[in-house]
Symmetry: C2
């Protein structure tokens, strides 16, 4: 049966989307600090950078990154995560991930804009849909077949799914830094934990991995 | 040399002071959930409830609670934590902690009101001072002698000390619940971690203990 999963990286103060990007630094310094441990893992380097040198960290952060794509058959992401807000006027924008994105499955980008699908190398196709969270989930679940659906974020796109009880497993990697600006994950999610088993474990990198699993 | 220490219990969304107290439930349900693991420890029960039965949890949460008072010679707390906001018109208000508060040292309550000191049983005296954070710290450090000063909270009182770099060790116990309302600790503390070594460990209770120690 299709499960709905989400993984986010957040700071101690719950910031999941940073806001200090500039033309010179399109992700921003805060994003770099938030994701440093993931980008350093062996499996991230392989899957996202295509680095086959075998370099990168192993251990808990790496194990989590391996699970990130494992068993996922389709993904839903917000327009901001895809980059439509950063590059609204670029007709050739094809996401942040180069010619061969790491997804290798259909990705449904939530947007009010009508855009044709973009078929990338390696099995990823970006579809642009104007749909409610529930309708988007039905579309993605259909595409995923028996595999899982990931709600890829950012936090603004993920929060309605969490609030509606539609997420079966939430994994949050907390980087022990205080950002103080950006978009927070936890807003308006009072009592989220009540429908889940929650467990936490700390990686040698200092990152705290918290999982909410439906009981 | 006097060190300045602080310990707070917060939720995953950083709430350190809850706001659902009622006349019937003077601490509120949220506070009970936030502090459940501490109240359950053997050392809390001994020190705060005077329970000498030996009952209560041991292990990491208990170790942290033992350190809570260890080596502290004076404490600074906000008027809200003492209870002056909840009971502003009660001339006999003497705090939440009964006749024999667990502090056993001078406690300096920050308030604009002029109130005489209250000497309690067991070594605790509440002094009421109208002072800036820095001036209050000088007063408390003088009272503590060579022992440590605790900034007892709540978050609104603690934050200026953290922002000014006056805290040597911050211990935060994160209870894995989402409260969604109350006063957040982390606001306006961007880059707090830069002056500290940060480490994290998870207790069997599910509580995540994060410590900021000045390098």
């Amino acid at each position: 049966m299709t499960r709905v999963r989400a993984d986010l990286m957040i700071s101690l103060d719950g910031i999941a989307a940073t806001d200090d990007a500039t033309p010179e630094s399109p992700f921003g310094e805060d994003w770099a600090r938030l994701t440093e441990h993931y980008v350093a893992t062996k499996s991230f380097r392989e899957r996202v950078f295509g680095d086959t040198s075998g370099e990168g960290t192993t251990g808990l952060d790496d194990e989590w990154h391996q699970r990130y794509f494992e068993g996922v058959g389709a993904e839903i992401m917000g327009a901001g995560k895809f980059g439509l807000h950063a590059y609204p006027d670029d007709p050739d924008w094809r996401g942040w991930w180069g010619d061969t994105p790491p997804f290798r499955y259909p990705v449904f980008v939530l947007t009010h804009r009508e855009l044709p699908p973009i078929e990338m190398q390696g099995g990823t196709t970006f579809h642009f849909i104007n749909a409610s969270p529930t309708d988007a989930l039905a579309i993605a679940a259909d595409a995923a077949g028996s595999a899982d659906v990931r709600i890829g974020g950012g936090p603004t796109s993920l929060r309605p799914y969490l609030a509606a009880g539609l997420v079966d497993e939430l994994h949050v990697a907390i980087t022990p830094i205080v950002l103080g600006r950006g978009i927070r994950l936890w807003d308006d999610l009072r009592h989220l934990e009540r429908d889940y088993q929650v467990s936490s474990v700390t990686a040698p990198s200092g990152v705290i991995h918290v999982t909410f699993t439906r009981g």
